[in-house]
């Protein structure tokens, strides 16, 4: 019963707060309710009213009315605090799984100042900030990440309790752009000692998953054990099997290098290796099933590799595409094409 109700509520909210990287807040999507303190305040006013009635004390009446009217006034103030505000995702964050990933927003106030706004997402909350009328401010909200891949906070809550904290007005932004979460780096087992041993190689080759090892042309410095001589005999091309690129060639970080590890662990090892290489500023390439990044170095290259690791095998999140208010449903895909 509660679940049904909650789902229905969620659907209703989602209709009002469509997925979008930019959300402006107005009567349509601002919700306002008294806080716990506000409820107690209401009870206090009732008690004061009764005191006023029983003691026939006009001044207590007056105080009660004054505070009651201020409460209603505060309701508008709190509402106005949010309305007119526009929140835009400027940069979805990047980071390692398990860390908090900063999501950058730009908040621009409408024609009134916006005071004591609090952004929060799940457990992470940003200290309240203020924006003077007509100005904008960049904030970044750390979003906790659990595992690698795309991370898209379902709802980022924006809330204000100003001026009195007796009422809270809130709404959400549901960003479209996902953050990219790199695999958590895990120190890769030092596989260096297994390189020389040809027997080990053959043993490894039998492990499942090695069948679709990547083949690549021979390069200067490849060990002769790596060359697929049979193929050379057949085709005359020097091809190297790259399942142990790591050991075979320090320039290549290879997905298949870690026998027995599951895919996620492999990615974590690779992330660690990428970081190690970046620290030592040695050039390296990345070999993933379905994607090869040529050896290079520099921060951009490192980021590119980490991103590749992060989204390997992941689909970007998608759901009903956010349509601007007033656009027709069937036009939306075209828009997307145009954007791409």
């Amino acid at each position: 019963m509660i679940k049904v109700f909650r789902e229905r509520w969620q659907r209703w909210v989602n209709r009002r707060v469509p997925r979008s990287d930019s959300q402006s807040f107005n009567q349509k999507n601002i919700f306002i309710l008294p806080t716990g303190a506000g409820v107690v305040f209401g009870i206090l006013l009732l008690v004061m009213l009764i005191t006023g009635i029983n003691y026939q004390n006009s001044l207590i009446y007056l105080t009660t009315f004054l505070l009651g009217a201020l409460f209603v006034g505060a309701m508008h103030q709190t509402h106005r605090n949010l309305s007119g505000l526009r929140l835009t995702v400027t940069q979805p964050g990047e980071g390692f799984a398990g860390d908090e990933v900063p999501y950058r927003f730009r908040a621009s106030a409408g024609n009134g100042p916006t005071i004591a706004i609090r952004l929060s997402c799940e457990d992470s909350t940003l200290a309240p900030f203020h924006i003077p009328a007509g100005q904008a401010k960049d904030v970044s909200l750390p979003v906790p990440s659990a595992h690698r891949g795309y991370l898209r906070p379902d709802m980022v809550r924006i809330e204000t309790r100003f001026p009195f904290g007796l009422l809270k007005a809130w709404s959400w932004i549901r960003p479209v752009s996902p953050a990219i979460i790199f695999p958590r780096p895990v120190a890769a087992p030092d596989a260096g000692s297994t390189v020389e041993d040809g027997d080990e190689d053959s043993a490894q080759r039998t492990t499942p998953g090695n069948d679709n090892a990547d083949l690549r042309p021979w390069r200067e410095g490849d060990l002769s054990q790596r060359v697929m001589w049979k193929r050379y005999a057949r085709t005359g091309q020097m091809v190297v099997a790259d399942w142990e690129g790591e050991q075979g060639n320090p320039q290549w970080l290879d997905f298949y290098a870690f026998a027995g590890a599951d895919n996620e662990l492999r990615l974590s090892y690779l992330a660690w290796q990428v970081l190690e290489r970046a620290k030592a500023s040695t050039p390296f390439g990345l070999n993933l099933p379905g994607q090869v990044i040529e050896p290079d170095q520099g921060p951009a290259h490192v980021t590119r590799c980490l991103r590749a690791l992060a989204v390997w095998g992941e689909e970007p999140p998608r759901d009903a595409i956010a349509a601007e208010h007033g656009t027709r449903r069937h036009e939306a895909p075209r828009e997307k094409e145009a954007a791409a």
Partner: protein, 696 residues
């Protein structure tokens, strides 16, 4: 990590004392200090001191100079203070003691205020404390002080919710002021129209503490103590002419039982459970013979009335001896209405034997010389003759009216009449009654006030404590009770123009009250200012504080349409509803005005839609010119219009326009309309080929 922390300490984790913003706390402490002020005279001094220390402690902890006490110390402080409180209160439960307990609770709460939640708890308690203050003090100055304290609280809440507000944003005061201005009309309407229901249940009396004023016993020195106070006793407004000064005898109570040196009320006032509060002090304008009395709280049931009055309002009832009583002790300012009947000569009736005994009662012994004098007089003269003789004696012999009478410890009446001959009204009234009773004439002491000065503008009389007076009523056959005032014989000035003139020579008028403006009767400015202040307060009391049941009905009866309590209820609901609606509309309108600038956005969006339905998808970040070019390629017929439109968009965004926004907008809309029409025409011509959405 967290786990080990929790286990290793095993104590409550102490949240840092400065988790709350310092300035917010300061507002709260300031408000508390202000809220204590109206109660300064009723709170025990140790309580005020303790509250001060605890609040300062909290503040020092905030500053990081001391630590907040741990749990044990806190409990200890709490127990000690509660013990002292219990010892002071001694089991009396009144609203007064409850209020001081409330203050104590606030004081103790300071040490526990660590989180936002505690802050709100304090806020609520302090708001209610402001309400409680209104039970005790209702004059305009203290009310303003109280409202100021509430305002401080509300500013404090704003600071709590936005502690680091930049200085270029409106401050808490300005915001609160703006809110108040906007809500004030609704508050005033609510105040006027909210139905003033009868009390839902009867509540305990506000105060259990003695107030200055007349008491129901009279020892010879009592009234002269009262004469040193310039506090207001009551104010009276007359519908007709104000009686002459010498006729302003405000009867309060009759003391008919002499107990040694002390005069008491012979009939015990029966204990009555205090009824519900009735504030209905008469409706409508005053009739020619009517007068209103606005009495300061006395905690007593006595109402003061001129001789020959009868009750008009229902909150006073007439009881025996031509006295008036409230239905409930006056623990707050009371207004009541009486009317004067000049013709009331109640003299016709006879005294019953019981009454005769009552008014002839005397102690069995004491004051032999006075008794002797009475016997001597009664042998020679009739009743009336004795009265005259006595007054003549006071007038002609060397009797003095003084605020500094000598001590007359034994046989005080003898000492006064024959030796010292110096006394105050209470002395002479008691002595006269004694002599009359000894001579076999029924007599009684009446206590009340005599006199009263005009307030500012002469609209009403102010009667002060120093107008307290005692006089004698004597039963003369055929005439009934007749007032005789020995003070008239001794010091006519007291009765003709008041105590100040009577004491002019002695210089003892308000000796101890250095600050009272009444003391400086000759300084016109001081007098004027104090009277103006009193007038403001009088109007405040009458129209704001005293705006209750009947006065509301009175006001409503003057409005068209019969408005009863029920209609008032509807009206109130209407006001609240309308207030909410107007406020909502207002803020929506403001919002709309804020979005005006986005009208351009709307026009642009509409253009984009037109482009898309013409089969030209809008690319992200495309300039208007580029879009216009592509549109022109797809539909050559609109080339000119599209380019012009794009130019206008550009000039709106990038050039300071000479036109007003409205004009520009209108031109853009017109152009867009043309463009759409051209597009439609073009698509009609091309109908067979392209299907571009159901709407086009």
């Amino acid at each position: 990590m967290k786990l080990t922390q929790a286990f290793s300490l095993g104590r409550e984790t102490v949240e840092p004392a400065n988790a709350l913003p310092s300035n917010a706390l300061l507002w709260l402490i300031g408000s508390f200090a202000i809220l204590l002020a109206p109660q300064w005279d009723r709170l025990p001094i140790w309580l005020v001191a303790a509250c001060g220390i605890l609040a300062v402690w909290r503040w020092l902890a905030q500053e990081g100079r001391v630590r907040l006490p741990g749990r044990w110390l806190r409990t200890g402080i709490m127990l000690v203070l509660i013990a002292v409180y219990v010892a002071t209160v001694q089991g009396r439960f009144t609203v007064d003691t409850a209020a001081s307990f409330f203050v104590l609770a606030v004081g103790l709460k300071w040490l526990e205020t660590r989180s936002t939640r505690d802050f709100y708890v304090l806020f609520f308690i302090l708001v209610y404390l402001a309400g409680v203050n209104f039970l005790f003090q209702q004059n305009i100055l203290w009310s303003l002080v109280n409202f100021l304290a509430v305002a401080l609280l509300l500013v404090g809440l704003q600071v709590l919710n936005a502690p680091d507000l930049p200085s270029d944003m409106p401050s808490g005061w300005r915001r609160l002021g703006g809110l108040l201005l906007k809500t004030l009309p609704v508050v005033v309407l609510l105040f006027v129209f909210f139905p003033r229901m009868a009390p839902l249940w009867s509540v305990p009396l506000v105060s259990g503490e003695a107030r200055s004023g007349i008491s129901d016993t009279m020892r010879p020195g009592d009234i002269s103590n009262l004469a040193q106070s310039s506090e207001r006793a009551f104010r009276a407004t007359f519908g007709g002419e104000i009686p002459a000064y010498r006729d302003r005898y405000w009867r309060g109570l009759v003391l008919d039982y002499l107990d040694g040196e002390t005069w008491r009320q012979g009939r015990e006032e029966g204990f009555r459970r205090p009824g519900r509060i009735a504030m209905d002090g008469g409706v409508g304008p005053l009739g020619g013979s009517e007068y209103d009395v606005l009495m300061e709280p006395t905690d007593q049931r006595w109402a003061f009335a001129l001789e020959g009055s009868s009750a008009v309002s229902d909150n006073v009832v007439e009881e025996g001896d031509d006295l008036f009583r409230f239905r409930r002790p006056a623990d707050s300012t009371m207004r009541y209405r009486l009317s004067l009947d000049e013709s009331s000569g109640a003299g016709a009736a006879e005294l019953s034997n019981a009454e005769r005994r009552r008014f002839l009662q005397l102690p069995s012994s004491g004051n032999p010389r006075a008794r002797e004098l009475a016997e001597e007089l009664s042998r020679q003269l009739s009743d009336e003759g004795i009265v005259d003789e006595l007054l003549t004696r006071f007038r002609e012999q060397e009797y003095f009216y003084t605020l500094r009478p000598p001590a007359m410890p034994e046989d005080g009446i003898d000492a006064l009449l024959f030796d010292q001959k110096r006394g105050f009204c209470a002395h002479y009234a008691g002595a006269t009654t004694f002599v009359l009773r000894s001579a076999g004439i029924p007599a009684r002491v009446v206590v009340g006030y005599q006199g009263g000065d005009s307030g500012a503008g002469g609209e009403y009389l102010i009667v002060r404590q120093y107008d307290a007076h005692a006089w004698v009523e004597v039963w003369l056959d055929g005439q009934g009770w007749v007032r005789i005032d020995p003070t008239v014989a001794i010091s006519p000035a007291r009765i003709e123009s008041g105590l100040r003139d009577a004491m002019a020579e002695e210089g003892s008028f308000l000796e101890d009250e250095v600050l009272s403006p009444q003391k400086y009767g000759d300084m016109a400015l001081v007098q004027w200012a104090s009277l103006q202040l009193d007038r403001i307060n009088y109007q405040w009391q009458r129209w704001v504080v005293g705006y209750q049941g009947q006065s509301q009905m009175d006001l409503m009866s003057r409005l068209p349409g019969g408005i009863g309590l029920r209609e008032l209820g509807y009206l109130t609901a209407g006001i609240v509803g309308a207030g909410l609606l107007i406020a909502g509309l207002f803020s929506a309108l403001q919002l709309r005005r804020g979005e005006r600038r986005d009208d351009f956005q709307k026009v642009l969006l509409s253009w984009h839609r037109a482009c898309e339905s013409a089969g030209v998808p809008v690319r992200q970040g495309e300039t208007p010119n580029a879009l216009a070019d592509r549109l022109a390629q797809a539909r050559p017929s609109v080339t000119e219009t599209a380019r012009r439109f794009a130019r206008m968009v550009n000039s709106h965004y990038y050039k300071p326009s000479s036109e007003s926004d409205d004009q520009e907008l209108r031109r853009m809309r017109r152009l867009l309309g043309t463009m759409k029409r051209q597009l439609r025409e073009a698509s009609q011509r091309r109908q067979p080929h392209t299907e571009s959405g159901p709407a086009s």
